[in-house]
Amino acid sequence: MSGIEGSRGIMVSEIVMSSTETKVARLVLAHHAFVRALAFKLAPWPGLVEDISQQVFLEFLAKQEKWNLEQDLRPLLATMTRHVAARHWRERKRAMPEVMRELADYVRELAEAREAPAYGDEKMAALRMCVQKLPDKGRTLLELYYDAGISTVDIAAQMEMHPNAVCQALCRLRGKLRDCIGRTLSQGGLHG
């Protein structure tokens, strides 16, 4: 781990152990995956899931004294997520050309019709393991795109590939990861 992460780790520990917000922080962490999954179902557009989940928790925290933290918070968070998602969806769509709006609505219909994806520690651990199983070139590509934030066009220039080939490779890598995660979890997870 880097020094920054290390200092972050210390900072987090201090917050968690010494503040009265411990419970709130725990609740946020415990429900983060739930909110993200719902946000994905309601607003499957690039970048919106993070925006929505962040906004939900900001609003949740701003009014934390109003909530009964001993109760199951999922119904409350689900309602908040729906409202925030609807707001973000409306705002994002307003800036889109007509054809984008049509596509966005179509994809949202598809997402609504399927079960919300499950996010959780097991899935993340499976993903981590599946990434390690990829060939070096695949991991390098993911590293450049996701870690370094380099665009597909710039990766293509660096790796002397056509930009379309980079897009296809990323698509196939994600497909492989999806299959691998599915296999891993269906076999009883990492310890199964």
Binding site: I4, E5, G6, S7, R8, G9, M11, V12, S13, E14, I15, V16, S18, E21, A25, R26, V28, L29, A30, H32, A33, F40, P46, D51, F57, L61, P97, V99, L103, Y106, V107, L110, R114, Y119, G120, D121, K123, M124, L127, V131, Q132, R139, L142, E143, Y146, D147, G149, T152, V153, A157, P163, N164, C167, Q168, L170, C171, R174, G175, R178, I181
Partner: protein
């Protein structure tokens, strides 16, 4: 009937969707595919889901987010569990994604103004300093040259210089602003008065800039332009008389010095400040950054006996060029071409495409041999030729070669031929498409790439001709040339490419 769906095209469209880079045309195409093949919907959502997980895993939370600190390297095995920074008693927390947990708790800390030393952590001041740099990177401070060590605080007047293949990062740690310098880049810290002012003398940087206070922007000055930023992610490069700005998030004002104009450039757009290029925001497409450049319509020179006539973009010969240029001395076979040239008014990486219709050829074998037609880019004295040669039977080759007027035809030091000829057949009346790329490798060297194919056939997927040549960084002349034939040249397009 529905158009057939090409899986590779669909993969590209899905990637563009997932990355938020889809253009309206691509959106229409993707929508058609989704409606025609319902199983694609599940694939698209599955791709998005894995994309979100990967972003969470690597800490790249949100493609439009502020710079994220890496939490997991995809190239390295995961850190052992014992390094988990949360207290071991918090088992409830550990059942969830602790990487996300860190990010969220950090967000909470800011939101709730829980001052637990984060902002006062000695590692987190907001003065400009060096982050990770390659070995060999130096900071020029007055007469001194300092090695670029991590956390070296920068002072106004400092210049960071990277060599080929090196990189360096300038960061404002507290607010999270980062400027990542590519190789062969010179970036100076000008001053910190009313903002953060840098000068990009040459090279390229990618920046993730936290929101800046009003009237205190982060500004990067280049020889051609100034980019003024209030909070965004962008890349900026200055080379070959052009400044390229690519905005990944937010808005950047780009002010062109030569045009004395300023234009806002928004998320997903880019702009170029360069002489003879219109300053305006353009959408970033998946084929890279490129802007059309108008060729100067004035004729620079013509020669030979081809009777050249120009009508706008169409340049046509009314006579087969049969004789060498009578104005030039020397043997016939060293000076046989008839030509027509115009000026390309930019000096950077360029791509030229055009069509040449072979209208007529001199069929009888003469002292000047086979028919030739094609184009030449002339950079000062260097002639870079992309020519088709045809024998009376119609067989021939497309060839890439170069020469210097009154110089040796042999390759100079540093010049290489990778692939310089391609068999082709040429029939009278047939039209050929030329696409030629000149990539500047350094101040005095270019890579030449070319494709030639008959119109109506698919464009070759690869560059068929490829060579390295020494050539100065000047604005090229575009010359159409023929020998023992007559052609019509049309559809000439020149693009400046990043």
């Amino acid at each position: 009937m529905d158009e057939p769906i090409e899986p590779r095209e669909t993969e590209v469209l899905i990637q563009e969707y997932v990355s938020g880079q889809l253009t309206p045309e691509e959106a229409a195409q993707l929508l058609r595919h989704l409606k025609a093949q319902p199983s694609l919907g599940a694939a698209l959502l599955g791709q998005m889901e894995i994309d979100l997980l990967l972003r969470e895993l690597t800490g790249a939370v949100g493609r439009d987010s502020q710079p994220a600190l890496p939490t997991f390297s995809l190239l390295e095995p995961p850190a052992p569990r014992t390094e988990f920074p949360l207290p071991t008693t918090m088992t409830a927390l550990r059942r969830h994604s602790w990487r996300t947990a860190l990010a969220w708790v950090t967000g909470l800390a800011a939101a709730l103004v829980l001052v637990f030393g984060y902002w006062f952590w000695p590692d987190k001041d907001n003065l400009p300093r060096l982050g990770r740099s390659s070995a060999g990177v130096e900071v020029q401070r007055g007469e001194e040259r300092l090695p670029a060590t991590r956390r070296l605080h920068l002072q106004p007047g400092d210049i960071i210089e990277t060599g080929p293949g090196q990189s360096a990062v300038v960061e404002f740690a507290r607010e999270g602003t980062r400027l990542a310098l590519s190789g062969e880049t010179r970036l100076g810290l000008s001053n910190l008065e009313k903002g953060k002012h840098f000068a990009l003398h040459r090279g390229k940087l990618e920046a993730a800039v936290a929101r800046q206070p009003a009237d205190e922007p982060l500004a990067v000055d280049t020889p051609q332009a100034e980019a003024s930023v209030r909070g965004t992610r962008f890349s900026l490069s200055s080379q070959w008389e052009a400044t390229w700005l690519k905005v990944l998030k937010g808005e950047v004002d780009l002010q062109s010095k030569s045009a004395d104009l300023s234009r806002p450039v928004m998320t997903g757009q880019f702009a170029v400040a360069a002489p003879n290029v219109e300053l305006r925001a353009r959408p970033i497409s998946r084929t890279g950054l490129r802007v059309p450049v108008p060729v100067d319509p004035r004729v620079v020179s013509t020669g030979g006996d081809g009777n050249w006539e120009a009508d706008g973009d169409t340049v046509q010969q009314s006579k087969v060029s049969a004789l060498p240029d009578p104005k030039r001395s020397g043997p016939f076979d060293q000076n046989p071409f008839s030509w027509f040239s115009r000026q390309i008014p930019v000096a950077g990486n360029i791509e030229v495409s055009l069509q040449a219709r072979l209208d007529a050829v001199a069929e009888d074998p003469g002292p000047l041999g086979n028919s030739h037609f094609g184009l030449t880019l002339i950079l000062d004295r260097k002639h870079l030729n992309f020519m088709c040669e045809r024998n009376p039977a119609g067989e021939g080759v497309a060839r890439l070669y170069s020469f210097v007027i009154e110089g040796s035809p042999r390759l100079e030091g540093g010049e290489t031929d990778r692939r310089v000829s391609l068999p082709l057949s040429f029939q009278t009346g047939q039209t050929f498409q030329f696409k030629v790329r000149v990539n500047r490798l350094s101040e005095g060297q270019v890579q030449l790439l070319a494709r030639v194919w008959p119109r109506g056939k698919p464009e070759p997927a690869i560059w068929q001709l490829d060579a390295i040549r020494n050539a100065p960084p000047v604005q090229p002349l575009l010359e159409f040339g023929t020998r023992r034939c007559a052609c019509t040249f049309t559809e000439t397009h020149v693009a400046l490419v990043e």
